[in-house]
């Protein structure tokens, strides 16, 4: 498969077209905005956390196919997971899309998220894939539950 077809594979296009958990959660425990001023990608992530587990996760907003599919897959992947599981998923996902796992990373345990591994070949797009993740990650580890934070995935990724 060519790099471009690897990047825009069916699963990603499908999540882009019909994103999962694409809704707001009224009175969510945690709400966070992810914004990339460079390309205008802008999402709001909603999380409900109960007994150290992600009881519900959703998102709203607009952006490119990569950022939207990533947000969609992320909300699906973290629902039901413990905070620790989310943390290790975040670390693994981050390592894969930033290419830290090498050219052919083992993405077995990432499930459908593995479809985003192709992003590592496109340095300019890594921040698209990680935008929702950084937003989610920052709010999950926030000590005080400030209702809204704006997170920008850094451009050096």
């Amino acid at each position: 498969m060519s790099a471009i077809n690897e990047l825009y594979q069916q699963l990603i296009l499908e999540h882009n077209k019909s994103p999962r958990n694409f809704r707001t959660i009224e009175h969510a425990d945690k709400t966070v905005e992810g914004y990339n001023p460079l390309c205008g990608d802008h999402y709001t992530i909603y999380l409900n956390v109960k007994d150290n587990r992600i009881a519900d996760a959703s998102f709203q907003g607009a952006g490119c196919a990569i950022s939207k599919a990533s947000a969609s897959m992320m909300t699906s992947a973290i629902k039901g997971a413990t905070v620790e599981e989310v943390e290790s998923l975040f670390q693994k996902f981050h390592a894969v899309v930033t290419g830290k796992m090498g050219p052919d990373p083992d993405v077995e345990d990432l499930g459908s998220l593995g479809a985003l591994a192709g992003v590592a070949e496109f340095p300019a797009r890594i921040k698209c894939a990680s935008l929702a993740w950084h937003a989610m990650h920052s709010v999950l580890h926030e000590m005080n539950d400030s209702p809204k934070t704006i997170v920008t995935s850094d451009t050096t990724e």
């Binding site: 060519s2 790099a3 471009i4 077809n5 990047l7 825009y8 296009l13 077209k17 460079l38 390309c39 205008g40 990608d41 802008h42 607009a62 952006g63 490119c64 196919a65 990569i66 496109f122 300019a124 797009r125 698209c128």
Partner: protein
């Protein structure tokens, strides 16, 4: 390649008539392969590529001319000063200013506008005064005015535009009042391509005695500039958008208004005398050129100007008009593609959006085909908001582009549609 200067100049003269093949030969970077495909460079509004003449001038400067200017009595300092001031004369002719001392070298359009906002705005604006800009300004012609307006409690007013991306001149006329103290407008919009009727804008402002700055960043590579015909009070542009190096640009200002302004920065070269009690400022243009500037860049700008003048703006305008019309027809014919910015008077820019595909994704797929465009808000977020879109994909032209390259763009877009099933 090693020839003496006069032999090289003759070569240049022979080389540069409007012959697209030969022109492309002058730009070595155009022969780059990107992902195994020939580069199609359509990001000229971001920055233009440099001809060999400019690249060689940079080499030559550091090889045999480098010294600080206006300072030494030694040979090299005189050579460098001569080259630097010669370039000022070229810029003067390029924009048809009356005098060399009306040309101030700066880092680029951004610094030029900041210089005026600072040196004129901070000195002459007062509470309740109004500054008028337009709805299609680059951030660099918004933020400096916002800053000075906030400081002076002045009001920033914005000329609106229609759905084609044309300024509503009636609204502008209504906006002008005795409160208006400055007008700063873009000549060619970088995100829409609109060529604004700056001459009319200036005339109306002058009727009230209001000075006008023209942001010419996107105009200089596409059309002949005549600041005296426009009668603008200031004209700002960047060298890198007119085939010169980055980090250099020029501000034209009418001498009588520059004289009344405060310096922008303090330091060496801009002074006449310094004591710890008082400093008196140097004459124009040095009053505004504090510190050691980009001397090689200035020399390169002079060489770039020689180059475009030899290509000839008449030829450039005619060729680019045809190219733009060709690209407009080509993109309009593609199902699912919509042009953003459809003004009657346009130059150099084809901004577009596609149904169901975000511009960022368009950019990545085109890049894989070797095609360089820009995607995003192009430093004009208010324009994006006005059109209700987050971003556009933008193909922008220079005279070295060809219809074949636009055909490649068309094929690239077909590929985008194929991948996205759009």
């Amino acid at each position: 390649m090693k020839k003496n200067d006069s032999a090289m100049m003759m070569d240049v003269d022979k080389r540069v008539r409007f012959d697209i093949e030969r022109i492309r030969e002058d730009f070595p970077i155009l022969h780059t392969l990107v992902h195994g495909k020939p580069l199609v460079y359509l990001d000229n509004a971001a920055t233009t590529q440099k001809p060999l003449h400019v690249i060689d001038a940079d080499q030559r400067y550091y090889h045999s001319q480098n010294a600080n200017i206006h300072r030494g009595v030694h040979y090299l300092s005189e050579v460098a000063t001569f080259e630097y001031e010669k370039a000022r004369g070229k810029v003067k002719n390029f924009v048809n200013a009356a005098d060399n001392h009306e040309i101030i070298f700066v880092r680029g359009a951004t610094e030029a506008i900041n210089l005026v906002a600072h040196g004129y705005g901070r000195k002459f604006l007062a509470e309740g005064d109004e500054v008028i800009i337009s709805a299609m300004e680059h951030h660099s012609n918004i933020v400096p005015w916002q800053m000075v307006c906030a400081e002076k409690k002045a009001v920033l007013r914005v000329i609106p535009m229609n759905d084609e991306g044309e300024l509503l001149m009636d609204e502008y006329e209504k906006m002008l009042s005795p409160k208006t103290k400055f007008v700063s407008v873009v000549m060619v919009s970088n995100s829409l391509g609109t060529v604004n009727p700056v001459k009319d804008i200036i005339k109306s402002a002058h009727a009230l005695g209001v000075p006008v700055l023209v942001d010419g960043a996107q105009a200089v590579s596409h059309m002949k500039i005549d600041v005296r015909d426009l009668d603008c009070d200031f004209f700002a542009f960047s060298g890198h958008k007119v085939f010169a190096p980055t980090g250099v640009g020029a501000l034209y200002g009418k001498a009588e208004i520059l004289d009344r302004m405060d310096p922008y920065q303090g330091g060496g070269d801009m002074i006449e005398s310094v004591t710890f009690e008082k400093t008196t400022y140097n004459a124009l243009p040095y009053k505004f050129e504090a510190g050691t500037g980009n001397i090689a860049g200035v020399v390169g700008l002079g060489v770039a100007i020689d180059y475009v003048r030899r290509v000839g703006f008449e030829e450039v305008e005619e060729y680019e008009r045809e190219l733009l019309a060709y690209g407009t027809t080509l993109l309009s014919a593609i199902d699912g593609v919509r042009l953003v910015g459809t003004a009657r008077e346009k130059a150099g820019v084809l901004s577009f959006v596609m149904e169901h595909v975000h511009p960022h994704d368009i950019g990545t797929i085109l890049d894989q085909e070797g095609i360089a465009i820009r995607t995003g808000h192009h430093c004009t977020q208010p324009v994006m908001k006005r059109f209700g879109i987050p971003a556009t994909a933008r193909a922008s032209l220079a005279f070295y582009n060809t219809k074949e390259e636009l055909d490649a763009l068309g094929r690239g877009i077909a590929k985008v549609k194929e991948i996205f099933h759009a």
